[in-house]
Symmetry: C2
Subunit: 197 residues, 2 copies
């Protein structure tokens, strides 16, 4: 018998895809390596009417909205500048018409964005998080979600870091605070067992 | 010649002491080991009129305000319950009359607290962070501070984790996003060179 993932109610769940933009994904093969699995999850979410929410980062070319410790590097080699190809989501995970795309300027998907209100409006109390990079945008989003009493699942093989040791250390820290860490196949199985298709 | 720490203007700086409460400090000798150095820093801040801000956590005994993934453990063995000795700041770092004590319910010192407004009101744009635990309350506070364009210094030997590997991994992640990591003696030296006494 296949094991259920406890706590995922598909109708109350959003699949968050964080920062899967061309520039970021090109930084490391570890980011590229999760695209295929995330595309499978994305397809299954759409088929099973699980809410998909894309969260991406946009900066202005002059660096005026970049985090202070990052400005110097940004100005040397700008990235995810709004309107450029580098800021687009990778083709395999591109949003379909009508899928929400939330633009953020900081690490957390909740920081000065409409994400919390969107989840409330749609009656969603659980997020499954995939994307990059685990120590920054993924992790801050997870901690903020818990702070808001939103239930959180993190995809260990649907998130990536620029270094495997960093990935492991961050997953461990999240496990230590009680975050539920699952694999893409666990989420796929939950949809297979409880989904519409 | 003694080296200055660039970027610390004492009159614009707050020293944040996070969660140095009896219950948390008793969890691990690593937390206990930073108390003496933090007490030196605290004393120097007071002497040099550097703003000190204590940030602590309070929970209600019934667990109703505890983060969801933490409720089960909390109910088995409650900690930092408001009004108990365990919730008090350790004697060596106890606030003096008039020093702000900010109470938080979540990891970040900024999450639903008055910290940001307090810093603005006092004209402070820089924080030096000490306290526990590095992967949770220290780190989320640091990421939020940067998100608000507040300058941040983290005391590598004035913060602690329950495990030295976790401490090192978290310090590395913060260095990687451009956080300035210094030692207690660097901050003490800045006060010695530029302070009032």
């Amino acid at each position: 018998m296949k094991k259920r993932v406890e706590g995922i109610q598909l109708g109350k769940t959003a699949f968050l895809l964080i920062d899967m933009q061309n520039d970021f994904v090109s930084w490391t093969p570890y980011a590229q390596s999760i695209v295929t699995d995330l595309a499978k999850v994305l397809k299954a979410c759409r088929a099973n009417l699980v809410q998909v929410i894309h969260v991406i980062r946009h900066y202005t070319e002059d660096g005026s909205d970049v985090e202070l410790p990052r400005v110097e590097n940004f100005l040397k080699r700008p990235f995810v500048v709004a309107g450029t190809k580098g800021a687009d989501i990778v083709p395999e995970l591109a949003p379909t018409e009508g899928e929400p795309v939330i633009i953020k300027k900081r690490w957390s998907a909740f920081f000065r964005t409409g994400l919390k209100v969107l989840l409330e409006e749609k009656g969603l109390d659980t997020i499954v998080v995939g994307g990059i990079f685990t120590p920054n945008c993924v992790r801050t989003t997870v901690y903020d979600a818990i702070s808001y009493d939103i239930k959180v699942f993190v995809l260990s093989d649907g998130t990536a870091s620029e270094d495997p040791d960093v990935q492991d250390a961050n997953i461990l820290d999240m496990v230590n605070i009680g975050v539920k860490v699952i694999q893409c196949r666990d989420f796929l199985r939950a949809m297979e067992l409880d989904g519409n298709v």
